[in-house]
């Protein structure tokens, strides 16, 4: 199924969890935050929260600023 990750379409296996997406993107588990359809998914729910087709995922981290 297709989901949208940071504005770009991405093909992921059905029933992919947030944790699965993080692993597939080779991201660290700390220092990032994830919103699913504008709602933040706490780290404690990454393993259980599943993506639905067309889901909009935002993954952010700290950058130089301010």
């Amino acid at each position: 199924m297709n989901v949208i990750v940071n504005g770009e379409e991405r093909l992921v296996p059905p029933d992919t969890t947030v944790a699965g997406l993080v692993a597939a993107l080779d991201l660290p588990s700390r220092g990032i935050a994830i919103a699913l359809d504008r709602v933040i998914v706490p780290r404690s729910l990454w393993a259980s929260e599943r993506l639905s087709p067309g889901a909009e995922v935002e993954i952010v981290t700290a950058m130089q600023g301010g």
Binding site: L27, A35, I40, T61, M63, G66
Partner: protein, 270 residues
């Protein structure tokens, strides 16, 4: 001859002398923004030279090539992180960004920044107050970037902000403190820390902020885009300390005419 302490602020261990935000003491009254640094090495040397214990970071989408080493670098400097909401135009955007920052960086402190337009980057005070109220309700310690309007500052305190951060001049302008009187009024009006944020160009601006009664200075560009960021960071550190000490020392009143400092009696006559 006994050597005086190396620390110009040797007395600054008394609780009243320590900047405290949300009950957390900070060992420096200089807060450094990380934006604008040309390299991680340059940023690290500036952070270390500044003596800061609190640095701001922005939140952005994870780059395709990974998260980079910024957080590791900042952890190695033992500084506390202050995520900002830079780039947000509405209270709604600021709320989401602040919550993402809390989740990513495991801190409930936020530098609230809701700007109105790209040309001036001036704060949208109405949206800022709305966002501040919602964030305080959500358990955040809110440090809002605001204009130098004393009434706006008062409103931000009324909704529960832990500090107020009025601008000296537009972000990155280096114009210094355009309205010192307004900054003094804010200091008189509110009972939370006042942090001069934005507009600082050089060390004397930072010293002036402290002499006006500010509790701290937040700056980024003045250091990160200086020709020698590390040297400017050190200058800012000393300027903030000097301004703070001068404020507490009690300056002399200004006079229109001279007041002789040498004795006026016993002059040699020829």
């Amino acid at each position: 001859m006994s050597r005086a302490t190396d620390q110009p602020t040797g007395q600054a261990t008394a609780p009243a002398d320590v900047l405290t935000i949300d009950g957390t003491p900070l060992g420096s009254r200089l807060i450094l923004g990380t934006g604008g640094a040309t390299s991680h090495a340059s940023l690290e040397s500036a952070i270390r030279a500044s003596g800061t214990e609190l640095v701001t970071v922005a939140l952005r989408r994870v780059p395709k090539d990974g998260v980079g080493g910024l957080l590791d670098l900042l952890a190695s400097c033992s500084v506390r992180l202050l995520p900002n909401t830079a780039g947000c135009r509405t209270a709604r955007d600021a709320l989401l960004t602040a919550r993402l920052g809390r989740e990513a960086l495991e801190t409930h402190w936020v530098k609230l920044e809701v700007i109105a337009d790209d040309r001036t980057l001036l704060p949208d005070v109405v949206e800022t107050i709305d966002a501040a109220e919602a964030l305080v309700r959500d358990g955040f310690v809110v440090l809002p970037y605001t204009t130098d309007d004393p009434i706006a500052a008062q409103r931000l305190v009324d909704v529960g902000c832990a500090a107020v951060m009025p601008l000296g001049a537009p972000i990155g302008s280096g114009l210094g403190i355009r309205n010192p009187h307004a900054i003094e009024l804010i200091r008189d009006l509110v009972d939370v820390p006042v942090i001069l944020d934005a507009g600082i160009g050089t060390a004397s601006d930072a010293a002036l902020a402290m002499e006006l009664g500010c509790d701290a200075v937040l700056l980024a560009t003045a250091v990160t885009r200086a020709e020698d960021p590390e040297a400017m960071a050190l200058a800012m550190r000393h300027a903030v300390e000097a301004g703070w000490l001068a404020r507490r020392a009690g300056r002399i009143p200004m006079r229109r005419l001279a007041l002789a400092s040498s004795p006026t009696e016993g002059l040699v006559e020829s």
